[in-house]
């Protein structure tokens, strides 16, 4: 058994500085714990996208034959951002449920729990970007000027989307535990309806709405446009920006609405 202390003033008197420092401390703890004691440490975070990239480029590229040029690079450019989103959402879904003791005993800005998980995954993605750039350059896709505005734009969009979805999922999971598993299934489906292993141009007419309804689709296409083809992303990205903003608002408001009952339920 341990004990715990918490100091807080009247609502809102906590400094923003405290919140950010808490977020930073939890994120760094989370990342260090994840690879503590493992020999290759952080390198493991590259293993999942790389392994899946290799196997898919064999199965789909060589065996079935997609007819897409440079298919292995095509896959990697889609898989790295995908795993960022997927792990961020999946891992944060249980952050409130899993920290019941803390929620019951200490008053702190509770949003830091899922957000630190999102941030940890974001950091891993940022660290993986040079590796991805290495693959691109190695396979003959030289760095372009469009990377400079394009990468940060896509990064911010996807970060906003991830934070929103993570907050929403983590908050609802407290009251509806099934969501954790539903999310797992939905993420599997999302992988296939997002243009990661194919490009959006191949989606047959009549299914185009999938791309418009899925905020991740234009982002995935965007990463490829910017990194691989050196072009500015298509107009769909603006729709995705709207959806990302909506997700962020939805996540934040559902969290705010529900956070006061977390301690009663977990």
């Amino acid at each position: 058994m341990t004990l715990h202390a918490a100091t807080f003033g009247p609502r809102g008197s906590r400094s923003a500085r405290n919140g950010l420092e808490l977020l930073a401390a939890l994120t760094s703890r989370e990342l260090r714990l994840r690879y503590q004691g493992s020999v290759f440490g952080w390198a493991w975070s590259l293993a999942r996208p790389l392994a899946l990239g290799v196997i898919l480029s064999f199965a789909l590229g060589k065996v079935i034959g997609t007819g897409i040029d440079d298919y292995s690079v095509f896959l990697l450019v889609g898989l790295f951002p995908w795993f960022w989103f997927q792990s961020a959402v999946q891992m944060s879904s249980t952050t409130f449920v899993g920290n019941g003791g803390l929620l019951k005993k200490v008053r702190f800005p509770r949003a830091v729990l899922p957000l630190s998980v999102v941030l940890g995954n974001t950091l891993q993605f940022v660290l993986a970007l040079p590796v991805l750039a290495g693959f691109l350059i190695f396979s003959g896709h030289e760095p372009r000027w469009v990377w400079l505005p394009g990468v940060p734009l896509l990064f911010v969009l996807q970060l906003a989307l991830s934070c929103g979805v993570a907050l929403f999922v983590a908050s609802i999971t407290v009251f509806f535990r099934d969501l954790e598993h539903i999310v797992e299934v939905l993420l599997n489906l999302l992988f296939y309806i997002t243009p990661i292993i194919y490009d959006a141009g191949r989606i047959p007419a009549g299914y185009g709405w999938i791309t418009w309804a899925n905020p991740l689709a234009p982002i995935a296409e965007g990463w490829r446009d910017v990194l691989m083809f050196g072009q500015w992303p298509g107009v769909e990205l603006w729709a995705s920006g709207g959806l990302a903003a909506f997700a962020l608002a939805l996540g934040w408001f559902s969290f705010r609405r529900l956070e006061d009952s977390f301690a009663d339920v977990v």
Partner: protein
Amino acid sequence: MSSEAQAAAPGTDAVLSLLAVSKRYHLSEAGQWELKTALLHPIRSLRQGRSRNALWAVRDVTLDVTRGEFFSIVGANGSGKSTLLRLMAGLSRPTKGSVRVAGRISTLLELGSGFHPQVSGRENALVNGLLCGMTRAQVEALLPAIVEFAGLQEFIDQPMRTYSSGMYVRLGFAIAAFMDPEVLLVDEVLAVGDAGFQEKCYDHIASLQAQGVTIVMVTHDLGAVERFSSRAALMERGRIVATGAPAAITARHLERLVETSPEIHRALDEQLEERIAASSEDRRKFEEQLEGNPEFHRLLAEKVAREGGGEATPGGEARS
């Protein structure tokens, strides 16, 4: 019930005001919607969850705690003490009524998480301090004092899984002790830890009170209630049934415990009689033995010379 007893200490100096506070919990699935029930009977599942399994953990509590008070809350298990403390701390919302707090609150609640066993005591202290609302610089400035108070100088950089439970508690209390609160809420935490450290904790709490910190404590340690608190309340089934002088409240609490539980009553009676019988028998035998032992008289004389008198014959030792 006795509503005039509840609204004690009125006035403007109330640091903590509870006005007709009630808290309802939903039993069984505790507010979760079960997918199956929700799908099969969508409306009924919601309605039933709200009415049938409701438990009022705290009922209609009105209470003012004034600045600088040491207020203790006693009561049987499940009487709603901890829930009340959690409401005061703002950790959960009252279902009805309002809680008003003027000042920085620090809670000292016993718990199982918060510290992460895989990281060092230092990092846990840092994260804890941040969780409690301090900035990094503030925690780092306080850290040497915290480590010293907890007596963990050699261990602070070790992972906390290597700590004993006493060390956990010491670090936890030390962090709380240096929080500089205006109101300190304490929940039964001092029941753990060794006696020496417990004493240190009580001393510290008393010194906080001397500095004008308001303290609200939930505990089963009636001795501590009488020793430290300036006012106490008794809770029963979610209600505050009496407030007043600590000695009167603890006496009432014991009385109620005995009244409500015939087993305790009988056990107390029987044990007492048994022990009186046993001790008088033992004592008689022991004294007989002692009287015939010259060594005893020599030791007794020594002891008297050394301490200037005192109790020399504890009864139980003659048993062997």
